[in-house]
């Protein structure tokens, strides 16, 4: 096991250039290898590809949330210059070997209506594809959509989750209900323990929170290019996806293409946040049409389509009941969810609430008095699926916002209440109420660091003096803590949750004849800097300069094994696999070195890229020489094969459990309802850091996405099911001027689960931020009688909440 020492703690110090060989690069703020290409326009995104002869696909989308398709006439489009083909959903109905995939049938009786790339008989959300055109240019293809005549018979929209539950309007006739599944998780020592806690505890808070629908809005819309090899039978799919390996398998299954003939490549990918963790209609349309027409087919998504036809996230109603004894120690927890699946189940749609189910207990000691159930329903809106955090931000919001409600009820400081419930550091590894084992944690440390960074006691003093009667600028202090279940995932645990695949990751490490190193990974980065971080892991192992390591990824022909990038898994699963593969390469090199130097393997030391013989300082052999010996194979030991190359598949024994504390300070203007975030502090403990520069970047971006849920973002539908926020003009992705700077604090508690001691950090910021900001806003206004505000806390909602609270009789008693 390699100890990662020399962790640089100065958050502002960036290293210039690369580190000299053998110095141990892990933990250094190395600048990214990816950047020069991205900064100069050299990087090629899917839509940048030049593909001679490609036909452009455009998709006609339903303007109705729910409508029978009576007839589709594409003849007008076909009559236009430059249009070569046009099809209705019915025209293509026999093209699909299987419906579009849902890989997570969470219960045996889950209802999953068959979903095809184009709807043939019924449209079930605004944006549902009903017909398509292939033309010689994108502009012609899009123009031609207007010449397609579709007759619809509109049906009532279903956008309210409780209305969906009532089944007054059933969306998918063939399943006869809008309920997809109910998934319970009850953990009690004795039956009825949870109810007993609710009946007998000193304090119970009962809250309803609405996780509004969010639109991921990666800056790069999706794009697809399918290139057939008509006479050889091979098919290459280029796609702006996070999941080339999953996409390859699913495309083969859905289209009946022999998997060995299917290759998926992701060129540069411009962000994902879960929205590119899917198998989409347009990918399947491009491949199938390219295959049958024997010509390249491409599609690029416009932003308006992205808002309507790429998955949405969150979208849950949460009822949470939290019981505590007279000291505030939690005695029981009950959660009821209604999950909004949207119109269809996409790749992992039904599993998202399950990922959160295990995190409703937060970072606290929770007794076995836990009663969770999620009922998920179909609605006539865009399908939902995993969006940054996927179930875990929702769960964290509920427990952290409820903890604040409990603290207010008990009239104690919210940070103090949390401390009374923290799982103590010495209890780790800690078997939680769910049976899952939390690997490591030091919640008091993370909280203490954050507390110190904001000077918490002084802040509370300032708040008391500022929030006097009549004050129109009220100060609020928000605290949130979190545990994140990431490093997805141990395959056997996934099996117990009915997930259709495993959670391993693959790495191949080879030392080339000239001693340069190639790392082949199954992860699929789209902004995370894997090329930099993975080369640092290998460089540290081999004692070489990271510049001498190249990372190959995101092409199933080059990296055939992998399960891709999502769920903060790439480092704790994929990165760990790379470290293990490096160790095995070194073991092999050691055998060759021992043979060459006529020494005993056990007497060899490997340091700084050189094998030396203990006690014989003149006998040494650099890795470069061994690599060449392995290549020529002129003089290898009898049991050693030529070349230095090892492939490792690592299935993690446990999830990894990053944690942290966020604190923010807001000032709410009671006259305008405007919230100003004055300060934001994030202490995210993700175990050892490979590159703190990248870790900080992930936290910054994550925090702002969570803050954006709290303050700005919401997919708004009208009662007819029309998406009112179908672009960046209406959907409020914040700009630089809308958000504060973020101060990151340091806490490092290595994971004992893997040899690198790493945990993952991609989702952490998002998980901590929304409850932190909302807790601050309610904290600012609770003195005015405001009990809660649902997200996003827009000025009008805040203003209204203040005025309603003030108008209520005995408003001071509502405190």
């Amino acid at each position: 096991m390699t100890i990662i020492d020399d962790l640089v703690t100065d958050n502002e110090a960036a290293s210039e250039g690369s580190i000299a060989a053998g110095n141990g690069v892990l933990g250094k703020r190395l600048l990214r290898k990816e950047d020069p290409a991205l900064l100069t326009g050299e990087a090629v995104f899917t839509n940048d590809m030049k593909v001679p002869g490609a036909l452009h696909l455009a998709v006609l989308r339903s303007p109705y949330a729910h409508a029978k398709i009576v007839s589709v006439d594409v003849s007008g489009a076909l009559a236009m210059d430059g249009v070569l083909h046009a099809y209705s959903g019915a025209d293509l109905a026999d093209q699909w070997a299987a419906p579009m995939p849902c890989a997570w049938p969470v219960t045996d009786d889950m209802k999953n209506p068959a979903h095809f790339p184009l709807a043939a008989t019924k449209a079930t959300y605004v944006g549902d594809g009903v017909a398509c055109v292939l033309a010689t240019s994108d502009a012609i293809a899009r123009d031609a959509l207007e010449a397609i005549d579709v007759e619809y018979e509109p049906l009532p929209a279903v956008i309210d989750l409780e209305q969906a539950l009532a089944d007054d309007v059933v969306i998918h006739d063939e399943i006869g209900t809008n309920v997809s599944y109910t998934w319970p998780l009850v953990i009690e020592e004795n039956e009825g323990d949870c109810q007993k806690a609710m009946n007998e505890s000193a304090h119970v808070v009962k809250e309803r929170y609405v996780q509004q629908r969010l639109i991921p809005m990666a800056m790069e819309p999706r794009a697809v290019v399918a290139i057939p090899q008509p006479y050889g039978g091979d098919m290459t799919l280029y796609s702006a996806t996070q999941v080339p390996h999953i996409l390859k398998v699913m495309t083969a299954l859905t289209l009946g293409i022999p998997e060995q003939q299917m290759r998926v490549v992701c060129p540069a990918v411009g962000g994902g946040f879960g929205s590119k963790l899917n198998v989409y209609a347009e990918e399947l349309l491009c491949v199938q049409l390219a295959r049958t027409l024997k010509v390249p087919v491409r599609w690029n998504e416009e932003r308006g389509e992205n808002a309507q036809a790429t998955i949405h996230g969150r979208a849950q109603i949460q009822d949470i009941e939290l019981a505590a004894d007279e000291n505030g120690k939690i005695t029981g927890l009950r959660v009821r969810l209604i999950g909004d699946m949207g119109a269809y189940l996409q790749l992992v749609t039904p599993g998202v609430p399950l990922l959160g189910a295990f995190l409703y207990g937060g970072v606290y000691e929770i007794p076995k008095a836990f009663d969770f159930s999620c009922t998920s329903v179909f609605t006539t809106m865009t399908p939902t699926d995993a969006y940054r955090g996927a179930g875990r931000p929702e769960a964290t919001y509920a427990i952290e916002h409820a903890m604040d409600a409990l603290a207010r009820k008990m009239d104690i400081d919210p940070l103090e209440l949390r401390r009374r419930n923290f799982i103590p550091k010495e209890s780790f590894p800690y078997e939680a109420y769910t049976g899952l084992v939390y690997d490591s944690g030091d919640h008091d440390k993370a909280a203490t660091v954050a507390e110190g960074m904001v000077d918490y006691a002084v802040l509370r003093e300032r708040q008391r003096s500022q929030n006097v009667e009549g004050a129109t600028k009220r100060l609020g202090i928000g605290v949130s803590t979190y545990f994140e279940m990431c490093g997805l995932a141990p395959s056997r645990v996934l099996a117990s949750l009915n997930y259709s695949a495993g959670g391993w990751e693959s790495a191949t490490v080879r030392v080339l004849p000239t001693s340069k190193i190639q790392v082949v990974t199954g992860t699929a980065p789209h902004g995370q800097g894997h090329e930099t971080a993975w080369s640092m892991i290998a460089a540290d192992k081999f004692g070489v300069d990271p510049a001498d390591v190249d990372v190959l990824h995101s092409d199933t022909a080059i990296a055939p094994l992998g399960l891709d990038t999502y769920g903060s898994r790439s480092l704790p699963v994929g990165g760990v696999a790379i470290g293990m593969a490096c160790d095995k390469v070194i073991d092999k090199a050691r055998k060759i070195a021992a043979h060459q130097m006529e020494a005993n393997e056990d007497d060899l030391e490997f340091s700084g890229g050189v094998f030396s013989v203990a006690g014989s300082p003149d006998k040494e052999m650099p890795l470069a020489a061994i690599a060449f010996e392995a290549f020529t194979a002129h003089d290898l030991p009898d049991d050693v094969e030529p070349n230095l190359e090892v492939q490792v598949t690592y299935d993690p024994p446990n999830f990894s459990w990053p944690f942290g504390t966020h604190i923010c300070v807001v000032e709410v203007d009671t006259e305008t309802g405007h919230t100003d975030v004055l300060q934001y502090v994030a202490v995210d403990d993700c175990g050892n850091k490979v590159n703190p520069l990248i870790v900080d970047g992930q936290v910054h971006g994550g925090v702002i996405q969570g803050l954006a849920q709290a303050l700005y973002e919401e997919a708004v539908y009208d009662s007819d099911g029309n998406l009112q926020t179908s672009g960046l003009a209406e959907y409020l992705v914040p700009a630089a001027s809308d958000v504060p700077p973020i101060t990151t604090g340091e806490s490092i508690t290595p994971s004992p689960t893997n040899p690198l001691g790493v945990k993952g950090v991609g989702e952490a910021g998002t998980i901590g931020a929304a409850p932190c900001v909302m807790n601050a806003i309610v904290d600012a206004l609770s003195g005015l009688g405001v009990r809660d505000i649902q997200m996003p806390a827009s000025p009008v909602k805040v203003w209204t909440a203040i005025h309603e609270a003030q108008a209520a009789p005995n408003s001071q008693e509502n405190q």
Binding site: L39, N47, M219, H700
Partner: protein
């Protein structure tokens, strides 16, 4: 119609439809795909480039309007010998980019901002870049990059 535009010092003439946007001219006709498209409402700024030295969103300009004028795209920012423009260098050194999709537009907008205001405050940088959206960085390191470029 024929439209002639000098792009990164090189004259281009292409026969384009009258409705062609400058961003499509640059990407599809001149073949310079460093300028990205992120929306269809002139909201995101990913397509920002310099028209006669000033940042514009190239989705809000018709190619025909740029006829006879000079533009600089992200491909024209680094020196011929590969030395990055100080703004590109500052983004690299301050981790001002992650996925890199908004980055060309962000760099073009930021250089134009410093032309107008060589020594901006943090708040002036934030307001100056509010027409350019980034989904990855939370803007923290973008602002830091621009301030670093200003003091370089």
């Amino acid at each position: 119609m024929d439209v002639t535009i000098t792009i990164n010092g090189e004259e281009h003439t292409h026969d384009v439809e009258a409705r062609t946007l400058l961003v499509h001219y640059v990407r599809e006709h001149a073949g310079l795909t460093g300028t990205n498209i992120g929306c269809d409402t002139s909201s995101c700024g990913a397509c920002s480039l310099h028209l006669n030295g000033e940042a514009v969103k190239s989705c809000t300009v018709l190619a025909a309007q740029a006829d006879g004028q000079e533009i600089t795209t992200i491909e024209g920012m680094a020196d011929a010998d590969g030395t990055l423009h100080p703004m590109q260098q500052a983004f690299m050194e301050n981790h001002g980019l992650q996925c890199g999709y908004c980055t060309p537009g962000m760099v073009m907008a930021a250089t134009s901002l410093l032309e107008e205001n060589p020594n901006p405050t943090e708040q002036e940088v934030r307001i100056g870049l509010e027409g350019n959206l980034c989904r990855c960085t939370g803007y923290h390191n973008i602002v830091k990059s621009v301030l670093a470029a200003a003091s370089a």
